[in-house]
């Protein structure tokens, strides 16, 4: 058992915008322990989206080391990287990103299809996780038949279904009203508390950060403890 779930060392990333080079991440060091509920707060333009994509293996850093659940990440093989993303990361997005033509149950099962799992097994597991986030009664509904909060619950079930090492939530309450947002935050806290799931929430909202075990700030591409 590795105690460090995520470990990033001196990660740097810059983009070329026209003639100028923009340094977005300027040497980030961050460790997330197993079972931690961490908030990363930062204003827009601080580099938090880039950091989130980096953590989610969607973006390759220019330099630095990244280990997830004891595995060093290498970026040159798409198959290996996709498999790692599939098994270690559970994404929750601000806009939910459910597939509109699939039911809630089918949406939850999508990550498992990429593991070549049998259809029956996928349905069984998907149902379990829908139940875990209290939305099983919507299993056969399509996203456009559900409220924002309900959709976000389905999205969380989809993030959990693959039993990943970590849940990465990008502004998970950003599109919800305050009450629903609080319910979603409560759900995250419960999952963290009861199931020991490691969760990283990225937000610009300092109020959310107060509800997490630990918070760090990202300002202008650098991490500061809050």
């Amino acid at each position: 058992m590795n105690e460090q779930m995520l470990d990033i060392v001196d990660i740097r990333k810059s983009y070329r915008v026209g003639p100028t080079e923009v340094n977005v991440l300027k040497g980030i060091n961050l460790a997330v322990a197993r079972g931690e509920l961490l908030a990363i707060i930062g204003p827009s333009g601080s580099g938090k989206s880039t950091l989130m994509h980096m953590l989610g293996l969607l973006e390759k850093p220019d330099s630095g080391l990244y280990s997830i659940d004891g595995t060093r990440v290498t970026y040159d093989d798409d198959r290996a990287l996709s498999a790692l993303r599939n098994r270690k990361i559970g994404f929750v997005f601000q806009q939910y990103h459910l597939l509109p033509k699939l039911t809630a149950l089918e949406n939850v099962g999508v990550p498992l299809t990429y593991r070549g799992m049998a259809a029956d097994e996928i349905r069984k597991r998907s149902r379990t996780y829908l139940a875990k986030v209290d939305i099983e009664y919507r299993a056969d509904h399509r996203p456009n038949e559900m409220s924002g909060g309900q959709q976000q619950r389905v999205a969380i079930a989809r993030a959990l279904v693959g039993q990943p090492a970590i849940i990465l939530a990008d502004e998970p309450t950003g599109a919800l009203d305050q009450k629903t947002g609080e319910e979603i935050m409560e759900l995250f806290r419960r999952l963290n508390r009861e199931d020991g799931i490691t969760i990283v929430i990225i937000t610009h909202n300092p109020a959310l950060a107060c509800q997490c075990g630990r918070a760090v700030k990202i300002i202008d591409g650098m991490i500061y403890s809050a």
């Binding site: 994509h53 969607l58 996709s82 993303r85 098994r87 597939l99 033509k101 999508v110 990550p111």
Partner: protein, 392 residues
């Protein structure tokens, strides 16, 4: 395996979701595959039909033609020809004939008739039967009598000779008594041209009275299983000796069929190529639809990548979609193309043959078009940057 099935379901759902667009792409493929199938099938039908005309007459027939390269060569002599079956047992029957065309008038009505001088064997070799009256026999030699082809008989009936048998027609100032009317016969094969419009008189009569009475062609029946090379050698030898070095050209039905098959294959290929143009246009339609589909589903692609789909998974998802589109289109196209070929055969009263090669071709080609035209859009989809795709 499950992923494949999921991809299949997904492909159907996506095609159904954009059904108007899918339908348009489908029509393109249907027309493309349909025209290839129709063209190739019609080619096959034409080929079968012309071969059937040959076989109708029997494949044991050859024509012996006077070589024109030898300017000094005399025309065939009737008595030399008549002895050929006795001297060369490979030949079982000979039918020399003369023919010349000309206009024939009854009142103001005109028909281009074919004057032919024939022997009794001509009727058996050409499988000609009498519809009315009788055929000519060798006892008719030198008599001014004739049998007329079906079309000529029809012309006579319409122009003042309701009952041709027993009537007389005058050609080149000679009057011939009509003794029989032939049943209609199909053109083609080794059968001389124009029998239906023919006025067939005994050969001996024809040689005395026709303007062009040289025997240039002989039809002959060959004994079964005769090697054509041996036949050619023996017959050439016979005429070289008997007719002072006369050269002959021998053509067998089998050779002609072979030659024709080759020509027909070229013809089918040409038709197929014409159909392929429609197919290419249809394929471009599919590619277009797939590209639109990729653009519309950028965020889905990004999401799937984030959830762990490999590039290959995304690529196969879109490839399957395009192959399904093309296969469904191909299936309809095959049915439609075969239907067109069937209609064509019906209209021209030819025998319809189902061309299985063209059906296989249709399936193969539509799969190929699906893969080919889906490949670029699918590749584009798989190469999308997940982050950019997610944001759109």
């Amino acid at each position: 395996m499950n992923l494949l099935r999921v991809n299949f379901n997904e492909a159907f759902r996506s095609l159904w979701g954009a059904r108007q667009r899918s339908l348009l792409a489908l029509i393109g493929i249907v027309i493309g595959i349909g025209s290839v199938i129709a063209m190739v099938s019609i080619g096959t039908i034409v080929q079968q039909e012309s071969i059937r005309q040959f076989k109708d007459m029997g494949v044991d027939i050859v024509t012996i033609r006077r070589g024109f390269s030898e300017s000094t060569a005399a025309p065939f002599r009737a008595d030399v020809i008549a002895r050929l079956p006795q001297e060369k047992p490979l030949i079982s029957e000979v039918a020399p004939y003369v023919n010349s065309g000309g206009d024939y008038y009854r009142g103001r009505a005109k028909i281009t008739l074919e004057q032919m001088g024939v022997t009794a064997a001509f009727f058996s070799i050409n499988k000609l039967a009498a519809a009315q009256g009788r055929l000519l026999s060798d006892l008719d030699a030198n008599r001014y009598c004739c049998v007329v082809g079906a079309e000529l008989a029809g012309f006579l009936r319409q122009n003042g000779m309701p009952e041709p048998v027993g009537g007389r027609i005058t050609v080149n100032d000679r009057a011939y008594t009509i003794v029989g009317v032939l049943a209609p016969s199909a053109e083609g094969g080794l059968r001389p041209f124009g029998i239906n419009r023919g006025m067939l008189a005994p050969l001996a009569t024809a040689q005395r009275s026709f303007p062009n009475a040289d025997i240039n062609t002989i039809l002959a029946r060959v004994a079964p299983n005769t090697p054509i090379e041996r036949l050619k050698a023996e017959v050439s030898d016979y005429f070289a000796k008997k007719s002072r070095g006369a050269q002959v050209e021998i053509t067998s039905a089998e050779e002609l069929i072979e030659r024709m098959k080759k020509q027909m294959q070229m013809f089918s290929l040409l038709l197929g190529a014409i159909g392929s143009i429609a197919l290419i246009v249809g394929g471009i339609g599919v590619m277009n639809v797939m590209l639109i589909s990729v653009t519309e589903r950028r965020s889905e692609i990004g999401l799937r990548r984030a959830l762990g789909a490999q590039r290959g998974d995304i690529q196969s998802q879109f490839l399957i979609e395009s192959v399904i589109l093309c296969l469904v289109g191909g299936l309809i196209g095959i049915v439609l193309g075969t239907g067109v070929a069937f209609g064509f055969a019906r209209l021209s009263q030819w025998q319809f043959v189902m061309s299985y090669t063209s059906v296989m071709l249709g399936f193969g080609v539509s799969t190929l078009v699906g893969v080919f035209c889906g490949f670029y859009p699918a590749r584009t989809a798989s190469r999308l940057d997940p982050i950019k795709a997610l944001r759109s």
